[in-house]
């Protein structure tokens, strides 16, 4: 019997314990199933029994085999409820596994459960879940961020060793930041999207939410790769190895001063500045970098993503699967099904997107937003000529209170101000915990995220720098994980 506290170990450390025989995979799974059973954060929408957790998991030796994983409810899991936190899909059991799910399960990872999220990944607080909000383990009166809020809460609250999330405009990085863990959005195309319920197809990318950078690297190594089921997937050339760098000498970190000049909470700003100091301590250089169009990212994003969403979500018509609300004729049935099935934020975005694609408005909205996106891509191309990384705070504030921003969609959208440009550019970006800051109005310190973005497919370089910086920052979230 292993006598240590598994919530104090990272996934990689747990994997080593299993590989060395100190901990049996059975024992490990039992411990985590018990932890997940005590979920008071609303992190899970569905939890697996022991048998369910193991069903479909390959029996393979070697790390990280045996370390269970929580999976965002946006991934299709064969025979297991998959709702994307929408009433419309309540009771839906997909006939197939997403490629990302197949990959982690064939590496020997049992599935702990399906985690809560904003409905169809639309939201930044997890309050748009049709079932219940997830709560921030640092302060259960506050949101964990979103849309991968359940995954972030599960890892930060010690309900899962690690978790799978998806990021369209910040949906991995922002909840990771708000919950004090690591969240990585890889380059668009590095991981298959097959089986990930689509929100905005040209932006959606799956990635890890983990305790530390090493775990993120380990999981990315399992996930990345070309998949014949996704013709936009290419994988990461050379794969991913465990990061080992201890210093940042010779590396240049660009700070887009114009992007982050306004709207950042003082505590977040202070933690960000302190982290820049740590970069210098490790031998890195800080420079100003210009991303002149990045501040228009949010506007472009809130045209493009809803436009794609409006067509992606049209298939939920009650004809073939999911909930059907009866109607007196076909159009009534469509309208009732969608009226009853979708929540307000989803409806808002469908309407925005439908409008943006309408004949006569396409050029003014969708066409223009695409051109802004192209300019942002060029901004990053130019920036990465001059610097190795672009760094920003992940989110302008620490975790906010439940209900604080639900009445003001635009205030909610601004959470994504610093994460959306990287999504539009398709480049990889990671959020690592950079310390604590007092929320506005005072109170105990809450986690602050530090975002680092790198050129497309330079994940290894990104992980190396993040690993070195993580060591210097020395953030410790273990008390929140163990629940003490």
């Amino acid at each position: 019997m292993y006598s240590g506290d598994l919530t104090a170990a990272t996934a990689a450390e747990t994997a080593d314990l299993i590989a060395s025989g100190e901990l049996s995979a059975d024992e490990c799974l039992g411990t985590w199933i018990d932890r997940a059973a005590g979920d008071e954060l609303g992190a899970y929408l569905w939890r697996a029994s022991r048998d369910q957790a193991d069903a479909g998991t390959a029996k393979v030796g070697g790390p990280p085999s045996g370390v269970p994983i929580a999976i965002k409810d946006i991934f299709c899991t064969a025979g297991v409820p998959t709702t994307a936190a929408s009433k419309l899909l309540e009771g839906y059991r997909p006939p197939y596994d997403a490629t990302a799910v197949t990959r982690v399960r064939s590496a020997g990872l049992p599935m702990l459960g399906k985690t809560n999220m904003d409905e169809f990944a639309m939201g930044s607080s997890n309050e748009n879940s049709a079932f219940r909000p997830a709560l921030n383990p640092w302060d259960t009166g506050r949101v964990p961020g979103g849309s991968s809020g359940g995954s972030a809460a599960a890892v930060a609250g010690g309900l899962a060793p690690w978790a799978l999330g998806t990021d369209t405009g910040g949906s991995i990085r922002q909840p990771a930041a708000l919950c004090g863990i690591v969240g990585l959005k890889p380059t668009y195309g590095s991981i298959s999207r097959y089986g990930m319920i689509a929100f905005a197809s040209s932006l959606d990318q799956c990635g890890p939410l983990t305790v530390d950078v090493t775990d993120a690297a380990l999981m990315l190594g399992l996930l990345e790769g070309r998949d014949e089921m996704d013709s936009t997937s290419v994988g990461i050339e050379g794969g991913v190895t465990r990061p080992q760098s201890e210093d940042l000498s010779g590396l240049v970190f660009g700070v887009p001063g114009d992007l982050i000049a306004e709207g950042v909470d003082p505590g977040v700003k202070a933690a960000f500045e302190a982290t820049l100091g740590k970069i210098r301590d490790l031998g890195g250089r800080i420079e100003d970098v210009r991303l002149p169009h990045a501040r228009h990212g949010i506007s472009a994003y809130y045209v493009l993503a809803p436009a794609e969403a409006s067509t992606n979500l049209s298939r939920y018509d009650g004809v073939r699967y999911g909930n059907r609300s009866p109607g007196s004729n076909l159009v009534d049935m469509y309208e009732e099904t969608r009226e009853q099935g979708f929540g307000p934020e989803v409806k808002r975005r469908i309407m925005l997107g439908t409008y943006a694609l309408s004949s006569g408005y396409y050029e003014a909205y969708y066409g223009r937003a695409q051109r802004v996106r192209t300019m942002i891509v060029r901004d990053f191309d130019a920036a990465f000529e001059a610097v190795d990384f672009v760094v920003t705070p992940t989110s302008p504030s620490v975790a906010f209170e439940l209900g604080e921003k639900t009445g003001d969609p635009w205030a909610m959208y601004l959470n994504d101000l610093f994460t959306v440009p990287m999504s539009l550019a398709g480049v990889p970006a990671i959020s690592i915990p950079a310390g604590l800051a007092e929320p506005e109005g005072g109170g105990p310190g809450l986690p602050v995220g530090f975002q680092i973005a790198a050129p497309a497919f330079h994940e290894q370089k990104l992980l190396e720098a993040s690993f070195a910086l993580e060591g210097a920052i020395g953030f410790d979230g273990s008390k929140v994980r163990s629940g003490i």
Binding site: A198, T311, Y321, N329, Y362
Partner: protein, 482 residues
């Protein structure tokens, strides 16, 4: 028809959907099928389950490129797939993946008709409406069969270069033959593997503008389409003649009643909200694919008709008839190949005339399925050319051949149909005929040349048809001193 309506001409463009005969669907691995039990060839992808992604079928792209090459189109270096959004139960994703502003191919032609564009897309599922209405409105139940959902299609759009129903039929048949010759589709209109819509408008003769058009949907044969288009042209001319306006609408032509019905008004036309398909990268065929498509082209019907006419001297009508149906062309070429002495023009007339007619009479269609081999038909044609049997006898020989596959030599021998080629023997019969019909002979000599028919008939009767009619007439005229 009143004089005023003659001053208008029809302007017709066609939209043709060709189902490709690939093994699997356009964006998933399900098998194509026709007539199988409903909903057995489906998967999460073609049912539009959450999270699925399309992966293009390479063979479908190759077939599309072959069609593009056959229609002499320009192929786009990077064509784009779009989503065409509309809600209907036959459309599982609520969008059809199609091509919009940059199609696979454009700017081609087939014969005298220009091709505007040809693009790749996926077919919808098939719906069956139970009840008397036959439509989703008012049906007791509507059923969806997703076997067809995702079948690869090439949509071919012509320029409005056609001017009559007959031309629509002829050109449609040429297009069908061309696609069939490529081997990329079954082109069966009744089964829906080839579907043709016609856009019809009229304009004053000599004008270059376009009038308001109506669309005629999905006729299941080119003959019906021809009749439908003619009826619609007439309807539009009558409307304009009586001072009314043509309204843009979709029409259905009922071939049994000859009537046109309006399906739905285009005024409430859909906004398809076309959007570039983010799940697919641009389609950029490489040189090897383009070369392979060009190299795969067989001799196509239009080129074959031209060769038959200019090189083999076959009349244009027969040349086209032979070329459009590949099985007839193959049969014809085998007849020619069976005997070098056969004249192509004669063989063509026999194949498209007597032989085709006799097959029809005996309820057959495909020459390849006939009991008559090209070699034995060639044999018969040679016998006629060499005057060994008369044309009349040959027709009755052919009837036997089609019925039981007998050898023509054997039939001729058995029935004693060999022509009397000995002039001396024929002369004796001619002389006897003149003697025995002295009155008629006198009339002929007296200037009533038509009366010679009775003398010819007498000779033919005596020879039981074994004499050549022309030779008999010649000998009769000679003997009567004409």
């Amino acid at each position: 028809m009143s004089g005023a309506t003659d001053e208008f001409e029809a302007v017709i463009g066609l939209e043709i959907h060709v189902q490709l005969s690939t093994e699997t669907k356009m964006f998933c691995g399900c098998r194509l099928s026709f007539g199988d039990e409903p909903n057995v060839h489906t998967c999460p992808i073609c049912l539009g389950h959450p999270g699925v992604l399309p992966v293009p079928n390479r063979r479908a792209i190759e077939y599309g490129l072959q069609i593009a090459a056959a229609l002499e189109c320009d192929v786009a270096p990077r064509s784009i797939f779009h989503r065409k959004n509309y809600f209907y139960p036959d459309n599982p994703k609520a969008y059809q993946i199609s091509q919009f502003d940059i199609p696979l191919a454009s700017n081609g032609h087939l014969g005298e008709v220009r091709i505007h564009r040809a693009h790749l897309e996926e077919d919808a599922a098939k719906m069956i409406h139970v009840g008397t209405s036959g439509r989703i409105q008012g049906s007791d139940t509507s059923l969806v069969d997703f076997n067809r959902a995702g079948t690869p299609l090439v949509e071919i759009v012509t320029e409005p270069d056609l001017t009559s129903g007959a031309q629509v039929r002829e050109w449609g048949q040429l297009l069908r033959a061309t696609v069939k010759q490529l081997g990329v589709s079954n082109v069966n209109m009744e089964e829906g593997s080839l579907r043709c819509d016609a856009n019809v408008s009229i304009r004053p003769v000599g004008s270059s503008g376009l009038g308001t058009k109506t669309e005629m949907k999905n006729m299941n044969s080119f003959r019906y389409l021809e009749r439908g288009v003619e009826a619609e042209i007439e309807r539009q001319k009558q409307l304009v003649a009586s001072g009314e306006r043509v309204v843009q609408e979709t029409l259905h032509f009922d071939p049994s009643s000859g009537e046109l019905h309006s399906l739905r008004s285009k005024e409430e036309s859909h906004d398809y909200r076309y959007m570039p398909e983010p799940d697919l990268v641009p389609l950029a065929p490489d040189t090897a694919m383009l070369d392979a498509a060009a190299a795969s082209l067989p001799e196509l019907p239009a080129a074959r008709a031209e060769r038959y006419h200019s090189e083999l001297g076959i009349q244009e009508g027969a040349a086209r008839l032979l070329s459009v149906e590949t099985e007839w062309a193959a049969f014809f070429e085998d007849v020619l190949g069976s005997d070098e002495s056969i004249e192509p023009r004669v063989a063509a007339n026999w194949v498209t005339g007597e032989f085709a007619g006799e097959l029809r009479r005996q309820g057959e269609q495909d020459p390849a399925d006939s009991r008559v081999s090209p070699k034995s038909l060639g044999n018969l044609v040679s016998m006629v050319s060499a005057n060994r049997v008369s044309h009349g006898s040959a027709k009755s020989v052919l009837e036997r051949m089609v019925a039981d596959g007998s050898d023509p030599e054997a039939i001729v021998r058995e029935q004693g149909l060999e022509q009397i080629s000995d002039t001396g023997e024929l002369q004796r019969i001619v002389d006897a005929a003149i003697e025995g019909n002295a009155k008629v002979a006198e009339q002929v000599r007296g200037g009533n040349e038509k009366a010679i028919g009775a003398l010819v008939g007498a000779v033919m009767k005596e020879t039981r048809g074994r004499a050549d009619g022309g030779e008999v007439t010649r000998l009769l005229r000679q003997s009567l001193g004409l």
